[in-house]
């Protein structure tokens, strides 16, 4: 809570320090402004995605007749329809739905850790931090699988034009990389790698930070310090990662 950590020294001018104009501690305030700047970076990626996507042809036709082509932007539910251990089944957006659920749940366990920290309940902080770390690692595992599937591709290849040795050739392509892909126009795969990759790297950093907090909780650092504000600060970062995923999910997988 903001009030528990804010400091105010009475009888001093606001400009002499010791006073928090926004009623939040220095660390929390800086975390908020860092997250705002991080939001600019993610917005840059998502806005560029919106610009490039809207300048490409949309697929016009029945969803069931859809085939991959570089002529138009693919329908996401036709690209992301695979689930681990269920090869050959068309399960559109099921796996990404599971990933979304995992990340929301790890956000809940994080906020429960923050709540436990307010009560100085070390055992509960440990428990919820551990669940948050498990959630983060599970999400990263899911993303590793999703990337592998995206890179390897489907069973049937797509005919794609490619510029080789100064001339245009057509060839069969399965999977995707930053140079060529089977799903649609090249920017589609490029944005997939950049946007989900940048988000995944944030999750990875978040798991490291969460582990650090867990370690410090177990060794009693915060108990000796008298407050669990670090849990709150890293919690803000973790919720932000969840927030970004909500936007990536909408703009990349649903729209």
């Amino acid at each position: 809570m903001a009030h528990s950590t804010a400091t105010a020294v009475s009888g001093k001018s606001v400009w002499d320090g010791g006073d928090s104009p926004m009623n939040a501690s220095y660390g929390k305030l800086m975390m908020w402004f860092f997250l705002l700047s991080d939001a600019f970076t993610f917005s840059g990626l998502l806005i560029t995605y919106g610009l490039v996507r809207s300048s490409h042809q949309a697929y016009e036709g029945l969803v069931k007749d859809f085939t991959f082509s570089t002529e138009y932007w693919p329908i996401p539910e036709k690209v992301f329809e695979a689930v681990p251990f269920l090869h050959g089944y068309e399960l559109p957006l099921v796996f990404v739905g599971i990933m979304t659920f995992i990340l929301i749940m790890s956000s809940v366990t994080m906020v429960l850790a923050v709540e436990a920290g307010h009560r100085m309940d070390r055992k509960a902080v440990e428990k919820w931090m551990l669940w948050t770390i498990v959630g983060g690692l599970t999400f990263l595992g899911c993303q590793a699988w999703e990337w592998t599937h995206f890179i390897v591709g489907t069973d049937t290849p797509t005919i794609v034009k490619d510029f080789v040795n100064g001339q245009w050739i057509t060839k069969e392509v399965t999977g995707a990389n930053l140079h060529i892909n089977q799903y649609g126009p090249q920017p589609f795969a490029d944005f997939f790698f950049f946007i989900t990759g940048f988000h995944g790297f944030h999750v990875f950093s978040g798991v490291l930070l969460n582990f650090l907090i867990y370690y410090n909780t177990v060794t009693g650092v915060y108990e000796r310090r008298g407050h669990y504000e670090m849990v709150e600060k890293v919690g803000l970062y973790w919720h932000f990662v969840d927030l970004v995923w909500v936007f990536v999910f909408t703009f990349f997988y649903l729209v």
């Binding site: 806005i47 539910e77 739905g97 060794t219 909408t250």
Partner: protein, 107 residues
């Protein structure tokens, strides 16, 4: 774990049942909104209307995450608006660039 001679006296307070219940309610809302998005994704034809519904539902989810989980709703007004005003400009930028994209086709 090293044992410290000066272990502080810590009073552990009991769980705030009401607060915890509220957090799970927010989690439930986030789940339900996501489920609604899935229903729209499979029952409605793609188009401007469906995209608008998705964006609106995403903003609802974002508001709950930032407001409740990140606690921004309960911070001072100055902090609240210093975060929100720049974000409004981002939304404007997104709309402007998508509009540009529609009007400058690659193909």
């Amino acid at each position: 774990m090293a044992h410290h001679a000066h272990e502080p006296e810590v009073t552990v307070l009991p769980p705030d049942k009401e607060k915890i219940k509220k957090l799970w309610t927010v989690a439930g809302i986030l789940g339900i909104v996501t489920a609604i998005e899935f229903i729209f994704a499979f029952t409605m034809a793609a188009g401007t209307l469906r995209t608008s519904i998705f964006v609106a539902l995403t903003i609802v989810k974002a508001a709950y995450i930032v407001g409740e989980f990140m606690h921004l709703r309960y911070e001072t007004k100055v902090l609240f608006w210093s975060i929100l005003i720049p974000v409004i400009f981002i939304v404007w930028m997104l709309v402007a660039f998508v509009y540009e994209g529609i009007n400058m086709p690659v193909f």
